[in-house]
Subunit: 524 residues, 2 copies
């Protein structure tokens, strides 16, 4: 039997929340609520979470915890996928079991490997002066997961979580209200994993919700040392502003329309392939991806008209997917309306779908470069979901001018013709787009973020909170939740492991200007 | 003959400022103004500086520029030291010629080495997926130099400047009004250096001053990509708040009192040596160092009384040094008064010295741990100059409680007895202090910041704007003024040098998880 009122997890205990305010999961395919009540905590609960603060087991136990957790998630993948499907409307098999859960366990294991090797610490040693420095844990990290990735970005299982724990921090997690049951199921596995590796509890506090005001108060608490956030721009910027007042680093992934630029030559060469790639990418997960290619820049031509027509045909032919929740539907409808009202031409869609609950017709709009330039801010509204905007430019030069008005984005794709890469236009387009995005792509779409050391899932403000950092890819993602600590003439007994002469974990270290895994005082 | 009204440097030209507001250098040993008038620019000038924005020559020319500049500074060291002495009251020979100018040219050369090797870019390559990333330039960086280091932190010659240029940025510099003539002399050498290496002009705009409001407006300009600031906490936090509104990274070094903790055993063993080290450090440059050890934590004992007495004897015996300007004198007097009014006991000094101009008597105060705890914020006021506070604690446990209330600082020194390093107290003191500071020291004072790869001249807020970064030490200092850029399947012709297979500069790169200087596809 299910509890009527679910508990929060504070200080190693499941406990009743101090609130009378509750919410339930909603099935986005029907719009109906189901399952137990989840608490919207009063400040009292947040205060209790803060009081448990920054304690963390050591690196080795963190690694064990993350690995055991990955194992338990795998063992329970089927059940987890089913819960998540019911809460999000995304497919249990194709999306969760085959893609997102494997990515999540991969991330947990890569993070565990960092906690074992300590490579993320960027240890740097000057042997002559006996000055040593490295990146170390900060304390308590506040994490907000998004609606669209119930596993890979979950506040108690995703990349931010794994990064914060691997660096030796504790976590205060806010579950996303779009999938509280998935989050609860994960948290139970995390507690079990902790017990299995001999910990009394994981270094994690879990809340299922709180008011916006309390969220802002939490963000400026001196007991919070960093914030990881993935979500809407408005919410993220409000949290950032609050955190900024006390100098707390805010690593947020806020919004991005991920421009795609296609040269006339590329289109002429590869029309069909680019249409297919574009439609697959822009409609993936009903367009609800951080890296969704929501805006396409093209030069006016027969070929461009044919491209847009082909996309529209496919948009009309495809059944509209399910949006994650009612807020997504309302937000999408509102932003499509704003873009249309600003003068974009509606090519297809633009209204709710007739199927039940949270569905919107696949929607495409177009503007000219001169219209875009006159109202660049509105035309860069993120229409989060299955909608896109084509900017049809009168010339290559006009396209460059339009691109110069782009705000910061996570990704930007540049499709070029074969053998055209040394053309002056390619160089200019590449340079202009480079400035605007964290990840520049050639001849491919931006969805599908590989979890690799060279990834940047970050970008210029307002796509993220800080242009120096990435939310995906190890070891860099771990480094967000660290601070730089220097040890000047500090006695060996008081040094962290990674800075000791013997280098017990064989971490990569820069010793007197050279990267090495060797111990100091001879090879080991 | 000197110009009556000095010009600013914008877009490669010396030009008259758009203002009728001017100031002159003041000799702090006499309080008298001397030399030409320097302009306090109206917004028009700042706008012009912004318009020249982010253009920079390539890495190789930046390296040549920095090296030639270092050479010219050395060739003109005598004259520069004389100007700086007259503007700051600090000694031409001991301070400038022998110490600060060599540090400055060393920094310029280390920065040049980074621009040549590109090691600072932390290039990371995943060869299987053909995803590559590295840190790259941001565009225009706004730099504010402080009063207390006319060379090593000068906005057109210091560490922030060298770091920003080495990373491939342009600089908009605001000269500190305490030493405009020194800054002008440096800028002329920089222009000459640019010409000598074949550049039309250095990628630098120089302003000699502007209003606070215009400074805030500049900080939130979208044309500014990062800010380097060294100076007062109030000024720095105002700039940070403005920059935060547009997500511009702010790297500020704001204020620090650099706690020194001395255990009873250490004092018993090394009384005389610690007294000497402390007095030299705290009175260095009349106490006007970012790393000045302004607060000392001691456990109440005979030995502690003897230590404080010894320091006071030396304070009384030493002639008061010269403060940099009238603002320093007023600020020091005001903060000493606030600390005294909050209940600290004045042990010596506490008034202006009778010698001419900007001098204040060497000042020491003391409080108990319980008084400190009751009013921890006031007792952490930075008394910038030749003043310090002793916190005499009733017990070791009381000292730990007092230390827990410290704000973020650049440095913290822990003096321990020989052979006591494994004592539980040493571990706890070390852990408590570690949290509060960027650089933890054992058995030495914090002044004297070595320019080495392992240095951290940074620390938790509000000592600096971001706990992840350091203002001193290469390559880390250069990384502040970079952004993370990823290249996903980007054609070789469009990759930056550091990410090309052939690795032309032999930069250190992490290739498939291993640091190497080798080219991809075989050793070179």
């Amino acid at each position: 039997m299910m509890n009527d009122h679910e508990t929060i997890y504070i200080g190693g205990e499941w406990m009743a929340a101090a609130t009378t305010d509750f919410y339930r999961s909603v099935d986005p395919t029907s719009g109906e609520a189901f399952g137990p009540n989840f608490p919207v905590s009063a400040w009292e609960d947040l205060d209790a979470a803060l009081a448990w603060g920054g304690a963390s087991p050591g690196a080795d136990q963190c690694a064990q915890l993350l690995e055991k957790y990955a194992e338990l998630i795998e063992a329970n993948a089927e059940a987890l996928a089913q819960i998540a499907q019911r809460e999000t409307g995304l497919p249990a098999e194709g999306r969760f079991k085959n893609t997102e859960i494997p990515r999540t366990t991969n991330q947990l294991r890569q993070a565990a490997a960092q906690a074992r090797s300590l490579d993320f610490q960027l240890a740097t040693i000057d042997t002559k002066l006996n000055i040593r420095s490295c990146l170390e844990s900060m304390g308590a990290v506040l994490i907000f997961g998004p609606a669209n990735f119930p596993f890979a970005y979950n506040a108690v299982a995703g990349g931010d979580f794994a990064s914060a724990i691997a660096a030796g921090n504790s976590v205060i997690a806010r579950a996303h209200p779009s999938h509280p049951q998935t989050t609860l199921a994960l948290m139970k596995l995390l507690v079990q994993a902790a017990n299995d590796v001999g910990l009394e509890a994981p270094p994690v506090q879990l809340l299922f919700g709180f008011s916006n005001d309390d969220g802002l108060r939490l963000a400026r608490s001196r007991k919070i040392n960093a914030i990881g956030f993935t979500g809407s721009r408005a919410g993220g910027l409000a949290l950032k502003a609050s955190a900024d007042t006390v100098g707390t680093p805010f690593f947020g992934e806020l919004s991005s329309i991920n421009p795609v630029v296609i040269t006339p030559e590329a289109l002429a060469e590869n029309h069909d392939a680019i249409v297919d790639q574009y439609v697959s990418s822009v409609l993936l997960a009903c367009g609800q991806m951080c890296t969704n290619p929501g805006i396409v820049f093209l030069v006016k031509s027969e070929e461009t008209s044919r491209f847009i027509d082909s996309v529209v045909v496919k948009f009309n032919a495809g059944a509209p997917g399910v949006l994650l929740n009612e807020g997504m539907l309302k937000g999408l409808a509102a932003n499509v309306a704003r873009v249309k009202d600003a003068g974009a031409m509606l090519l297809c869609g633009g209204t709710r779908a007739e199927s039940p609950a949270f569905r919107y017709k696949n929607t495409a709009l177009s503007v000219t470069d001169s219209a875009f330039i006159r109202n660049a801010q509105t035309f860069q509204l993120e229409m989060f979901g299955n909608a896109c905007l084509f900017v049809v430019c009168s010339s290559m030069a006009a396209m460059m001018n339009a691109l110069r008005l782009l705000e910061g984005n996570l990704c930007g794709s540049l499709y070029l013709a074969e053998g055209q890469t040394d053309a002056p236009e390619a160089r200019i387009l590449s340079a202009v787009l480079r400035e605007k995005v964290g990840r520049l792509l050639n001849d491919k779409m931006p969805t599908g973020v590989a979890v690799t050391s060279a990834m940047n899932h970050g970008g210029p403000y307002p796509a993220t909170g800080h242009v120096h950092f990435t939310a995906v890819g190890f070891p860099a993602a771990v480094r967000r939740f660290t601070r730089l600590n220097c040890y000047d003439n500090v006695r060996p007994e008081l040094l962290p492991a990674v800075l000791r002469n013997d280098n017990p974990t064989r971490a990569w270290r820069m010793v007197d200007g050279e990267w090495t895994r060797d111990a100091i005082g001879g090879k080991r």
